[in-house]
């Protein structure tokens, strides 16, 4: 319970720090916040076990922290440091960290589901019961890649769970202008997959529903979908002041803020006192400030790095310890024999 809270607070605090850094000119490129959606990312990721894989979308930073990512990694990414997980070659959450079971998405939407299917397939080939979890906004769920990903996951009955984050907005377009569905769980029904809609701002409900889908997938029950009803409280990115969003709607959803709601539960159930809650915020703020200071001290990559790593160098791709338990005699890797 306390970890759920801490990870949500960490997500919001770090994003607020990133916003400050953005205004100070330290952030390279855009900044995409998940304000209001922290419970969906954190609650769903909590349903996974060690060794499972997760592919985030753009507003799922909280899920990455649950999986063990250090906060300063996000700071390095957003400030394009040479020490970042993408070595300065890509931004935001686009890194793949096999040790943490993280598959990085790319900007064309819906594609990571297709790739995660292959990860899940490999798990099953190896006889493990690991599960893969990925996210899509309802906007992303309209791409061809997304539909094909659903079709493949269903056809191969893969251990994949899709969290469909219905946050009402696809960049500047309200989703009901771009689709003729009211219940986004219908996306799953079309592929014969079970779906359950939950209050995406209730971290416990998200956790519980995702856990149900994860358990089913783990026990061979195939893919499942969780539709998280939530709201994107800020514009698409920092450059977007979201003037197209009705103020009363924002007010309505502000009252359902996932962190404040959960803090009330923690208080009511006696998990934390008000002072305890404030202490968490203070701790996390200090942690984030220190991490930001460290990241900003690190250098950009040297220009020559732009040319590296396009193709494998000899010695790249050694047997993969986290996956490959049976390297075949004779190493096939490192180029043609």
């Amino acid at each position: 319970m306390l970890d759920l809270h801490r990870f949500m607070v960490l997500t919001r605090t770090l994003e607020e720090r990133l916003e400050v850094l953005f205004k100070q000119g330290h952030i390279v490129g855009g900044l995409y916040r998940s304000l209001g959606q922290e419970a969906t990312a954190v609650g769903s990721a909590f349903a996974l076990e060690e060794g499972d894989w997760l592919a985030p979308s753009i507003r799922d930073m909280g899920a990455l922290f649950v999986r063990g990512l250090a906060p300063e990694e996000m700071l390095r990414q957003y400030t394009a440091r040479g020490t970042s997980l993408c070595a300065g070659k890509d931004n935001t959450t686009h890194f793949t960290v096999p040790e943490l079971g993280l598959l990085g998405p790319i900007s064309p939407l819906g594609t990571q589901l297709c790739v995660l299917n292959g990860v899940a397939f490999a798990f099953r080939r190896r006889g493990t019961d690991r599960v893969c979890l990925t996210y899509q906004g309802e906007g992303a769920s309209r791409t061809g890649a997304s539909h094909e990903g659903f079709a493949m996951a269903a056809a191969l009955d893969l251990p994949v769970v899709i969290v469909l984050e219905h946050n009402r907005w696809s960049f500047g377009t309200r989703s009901d202008r771009a689709a003729a569905v009211e219940d986004w769980a219908h996306t799953a029904v079309a592929y014969g997959l079970p779906a359950r809609s939950v209050d995406g701002n209730d971290v416990l409900e998200v956790w519980e529903a995702t856990g149900e889908a994860v358990s089913r997938a783990r026990s061979g029950g195939g893919p499942g979908v969780v539709v998280a009803e939530t709201y994107r409280m800020l514009g698409h990115a920092q450059h977007d002041a979201q003037r197209y969003v009705p103020a009363e709607e924002l007010e309505e959803w502000r009252a359902r803020d996932p962190i404040r709601r959960f803090e009330k539960v923690l208080l009511d159930e006696g998990f934390l006192s008000q002072a305890g809650i404030e202490e968490v915020h203070a701790d996390v703020t200090a942690e984030v400030a220190a991490a930001a200071e460290r990241a900003l001290d690190e250098p950009y990559p040297v220009p020559e790095e732009a040319r590296t790593r396009v193709y494998a160098d000899p010695g790249d791709d050694p047997p993969i310890p986290w996956t490959r338990t049976d390297p075949v005699a004779g190493d096939y890797l490192g180029g043609a024999a």
Binding site: D90, L113, V115, G118, R125, M152, R309, Y311, I320
Partner: protein
Amino acid sequence: MSGSDPAGPSPPRPVPSPADDAARAAGAQTPLVEVTYLEAIREAMRAEMRRDDRVFLLGEDIGVYGGAFKITEGFLEEFGPDRVIDTPISEAAIVGAAIGAAHMGLRPVAEMQFIDFIAPAFDMIVNFAAKSRYRTGIGAGLVIRGPCGGGARSGPFHSQNVESYFANVPGLKMVAPATARDAAGLLIAAIRDPDPVLYFEHKFLYRRVKEALPPGDEIVVPLGRARTHRPGDALTIVTWGAMVWKCAAAADRIAAEDGAECEVIDLRSLRPLDADAIVNGVRRTGRLLVVHEAPGFGGLAGEICAQVNERAFEWLDAPVRRVTALDTPVPFAPTLEDWFLPQEEDIVAAARWLLAY
């Protein structure tokens, strides 16, 4: 060699010839078997799957049906449904699953039923597979293979050559075998390669090209190395795929009728491009003709011309010429398709023009 070539510039070296290949095959002391181009692909894939259980296949109708061209006939029975996977008609999902499996250490070979259908998977290939190692350090060693090319009266969507669509994408490799030996050897090299390889097999050659080969698992043709299909000193013809055979026929005719020997270089690999082999050829003959089956505008001949211009301009005794398909979609009716495709006549005419320059 371009700056993106992982091997870097390599010194001039002899290009393997068919005679070398034959000698090597003879030295292998294995009974040779006459196989078609199609059988060479099948047997190479089978041999590699027997040797390495990380190798698996996925695609449309490849399992129960055995593949639209029956390349994977019998594979489901031998390797089982975990390694021969019938998929939905979802090319993006096929390539996506191959990428994910490759990340996890498997060796996927994805089939596009016709290479034209690679278009729906374009995003997965150019944005996910090709950029994965650069962005994240995690490679995507996979093969996407499929029948390309015209001459089979198959119309605009079952006849294309797609190499130029992908030529401008760093991170990809591309091969296009012309012989049964290269069909086997390049496929095995592609499967073992740690980077994504597009393998273009020419459907016109499937049953028309035959060669006596040792069992497929003994052949590995390194990626990025061209092959001299026919030696000559008067003119260098650079080509690949089915055009190799038309160029060879044209060169034979010129030898018989004009007494001039044209060299035919079969690139085999399109990325990395064996620019050294091309440049060395031009430095020997002073004349270059590039022949390819895709339309000329934006085709690979342009890149080849540019590299020769940069590295061998002083050796040229004539302008570089191209013979390519018309700048149109691939038409259906036999009269139209024959007019569209480069023919022996066109190659002979261009070669004679160059020889007379």
